[in-house]
């Protein structure tokens, strides 16, 4: 593996209504933090004519009204913002730590993945067995342990409403990487927990999908009826910059949480956290430990 390619920013016009800014071709926590810092500053400015600000993994997208704000002027302002966040030690990011239970190797995603073995790299293994093996883990259990012991940052939201791309906050050599299916499935259960490339996701709704399927989350990340407390203000739960800790649960806990969801009492366990990207990047293990302690013991 080569070192992460140097960050080189690319400013591009997406027709007459969008500006796309690519901070890095490769995914890295550094690029993600940088995009987060810029887009949060941009939001605070509250400029008239900015319609959408969408931070993504190693880039961001802005939709604007060119009748209100000139494209060239907007790009000049964005370059200025990039300059202002040069030093990632000076940026304080406020976000939420969230406990996200996952029932690994559940019967529902198992049934789904077995239906599409002919579209998979290795039809004779499950997605979890295959992914553990190609990432050098001796067992499924050790692989699940690696996923659950360090938190993930919600690096981007999109594709469909609420889908969180989650990037694990571990050093590059510990990053899990898996290919997508050879040909996408036509079915994925709602709330399935999947992995593709360097990203973990939860599928908000049932549908097609190409990520490796490892399990299912009992709690929704999207709820259009908005009956649960976490969905009062928005039909989607994840926010870009959230820090998710995926916790392995058994069938009993899965059922118990499902009942709470059904009767409207489920609430995500979460804590607010502040950090500077600089301190996190300097000591990822220390940050993970501290985050988990805060989430479960404070």
């Amino acid at each position: 593996m080569k070192e992460t390619s140097p960050m080189q920013t690319r400013y591009e016009y997406g027709g007459d209504e969008f500006v796309f800014v690519q901070l890095s071709e490769a995914m890295s926590l550094e690029a993600n933090f940088k995009g987060m810092a810029i887009t949060r500053k941009l939001k605070e400015k509250n400029w008239e004519g900015i319609l959408d600000i969408c931070p993504s993994n190693a880039s961001y997208l802005v939709r604007y009204d060119p009748d209100v704000i000139e494209p060239e002027k907007l790009v000049a302002e964005l370059k200025q913002l990039e300059n202002e966040v040069k030093n990632l030690d000076d940026i304080v990011i406020t976000s939420r730590l969230v406990d996200v239970p996952v029932y690994f190797e559940d019967p529902w995603t198992h049934e789904a993945l077995m239906r599409f073995r002919d579209r998979h790299q290795d039809p004779n293994s499950t997605d979890l067995e295959y992914s553990a093996r190609i990432n050098g883990y001796s067992s499924k259990e050790a692989f699940i342990q690696a996923i659950t012991e360090a938190p993930f940052i919600v690096s981007m939201i999109g594709f469909v409403p609420g889908l969180p791309w989650c990037f694990q906050m571990v050093p590059r050599e510990k990053q899990i990487e898996v290919p997508k299916y050879v040909r996408p499935r036509t079915f994925t259960p709602e709330r399935a927990f999947g992995f593709g490339g360097a990203f973990a996701v939860i599928y908000p709704v049932q549908g097609a999908g190409g990520y490796q399927l490892f399990g299912i989350a009992p709690a929704p990340i999207y709820q259009k009826e908005q009956t649960l407390a976490d969905f009062k203000d928005s039909i989607v739960f994840p926010r870009q910059g959230d820090i998710f800790r995926y916790r392995s649960i058994d069938a009993d806990e899965y059922q118990a949480i499902r009942e709470q969801v059904e009767n409207g009492t489920f609430v995500y366990r979460k804590k607010e956290i502040q950090f500077t990207p600089g301190e996190v990047l300097a000591d990822l293990e220390g940050f993970a430990e501290e985050a988990l302690r805060r989430l479960y013991h404070d």
Binding site: M1, K2, T4, S5, R10, E12, Y13, G14, G15, D16, E17, F18, F20, Q22, S24, E25, A26, M27, S28, L51, D52, I53, C54, P55, S56, N57, A58, S59, Y60, L61, R63, P66, D67, P71, M156, I157, G158, F159, V160, P161, G162, L163, W165, F167, R172, Q175, E177, P179, K180, G196, G197, A198, F199, V205, Y222, K224, S234, I235, V236, Q240
Partner: protein
């Protein structure tokens, strides 16, 4: 009250769209051909954001429960009231019990039906537009079905005399060959120089996958610059680290079949985007149908802005004449 006797292929409630939720993965939805949509509302004196019906390819049969003004704009799917042909791009009046039906499509793909006051459906996140993928907005979050009953809202702002029509020169003409203007860029650095040329030279054929989420085109194969894929980007040369997709952006998964993303599209993903359809031509794209031919024409941002102003001037001209 409007009763759906036959729903047509896909008839949905749409307005300007659900703007401002792209960051949570929510596309704007809204009328595909904004020009036709806006003129339809102008012709019945509605607020510019009143909801209309967007009719696709095969028209519905609708029965009106009372006298009201209506207008029909967009592609040529010839309308009839009680079997008699009526004019498009004109302020019409229907009586209680009248039935509106349509002939087969002659040109274009989508017709807009505005009714005085607009279609009354609940606002969801600031819009009445239907987004069928997750079933929100519009009429119960879906396309109309036989037996549905729609009500009209109170978004009328002006009395427009019956028979008002617009200058025929301002009515767009839709053929089977379309020149769609694009601004090259985004991740076009991933395409080889030769493929950039091929993309612009090819006469593409629109496949049956042509709907509110996107338009897929058949033609030549495009190739990407060889590289060691960056971390997180995925293994196919057409893959990039997942990013946001502008509306109108064009991606070419695996180098085959360019897809133009439209108003109900996914908001992001892992395919390199190579160009974006300019806002003025998204309306044109909305009137393209399966088997039509499309050629993408590269223009500058300045050209795109000029085209945008041209559309606005036309709309102002129409507004002043009504």
């Amino acid at each position: 009250m409007i009763k759906v006797i036959k729903p047509g292929l896909q008839t949905t409630v749409q307005d300007e769209g659900r703007i401002g939720y792209y960051e949570i993965g929510m596309p704007p939805s809204g009328a595909m051909d904004k020009f036709a949509f806006r003129v339809a509302n102008l012709l019945v004196g509605n607020n510019p954001n009143a909801a209309v019906l967007e009719i696709t390819y095969l028209g519905p049969v609708l029965e009106f429960g009372r006298k009201m003004k209506i207008s029909l704009t967009g592609g040529e799917i010839p309308p009839r009231i009680n079997g008699q042909p009526v004019a498009m791009w004109t302020t019409l009046e229907v009586q209680e019990g009248d039935q509106l039906s349509f002939d087969f499509v002659k040109s274009g793909a989508r017709v807009y039906l505005a009714v005085e006051g607009g279609i009354d459906v609940p606002l969801v996140m600031g819009s009445r537009s239907t987004y069928t993928l997750i079933g929100i907005g519009g009429f119960e979050g879906r396309a109309l079905k036989e037996g549905d009953v729609l009500h009209t809202a109170d978004m009328s702002e002006k009395q427009v005399p019956l028979g008002t029509s617009i200058d025929p020169q301002l009515i767009p003409v839709y053929s089977k060959h379309h020149e769609i203007r694009v601004v090259m860029g985004l991740c076009s650095y991933r395409l080889t120089e030769e493929s950039k040329e091929t993309f612009l030279k090819t006469e593409w054929t629109v496949t049956p996958e042509a709907n509110r989420t996107g338009y897929r085109h058949k033609g030549e194969r495009l190739t990407f610059v060889e590289r060691e894929q960056p971390f997180g980007a995925g293994s196919n040369p057409s893959n990039v680290t997942d990013l946001g997709y502008p509306i109108g952006s064009i991606q070419v998964p695996d180098g085959v079949e360019p897809i133009v993303l439209m108003h109900d599209a996914v908001t992001g993903g892992g395919y390199a985007t190579i160009a974006t359809v300019i806002s003025a031509d998204l309306d044109k794209m909305a009137q393209v149908k399966t088997n039509d031919k499309v050629r993408f024409v590269s223009v500058s941002l300045q050209d795109a802005l000029a085209a945008r102003r041209e559309v606005q001037q036309k709309l102002n001209q129409i507004k002043e004449s009504i």
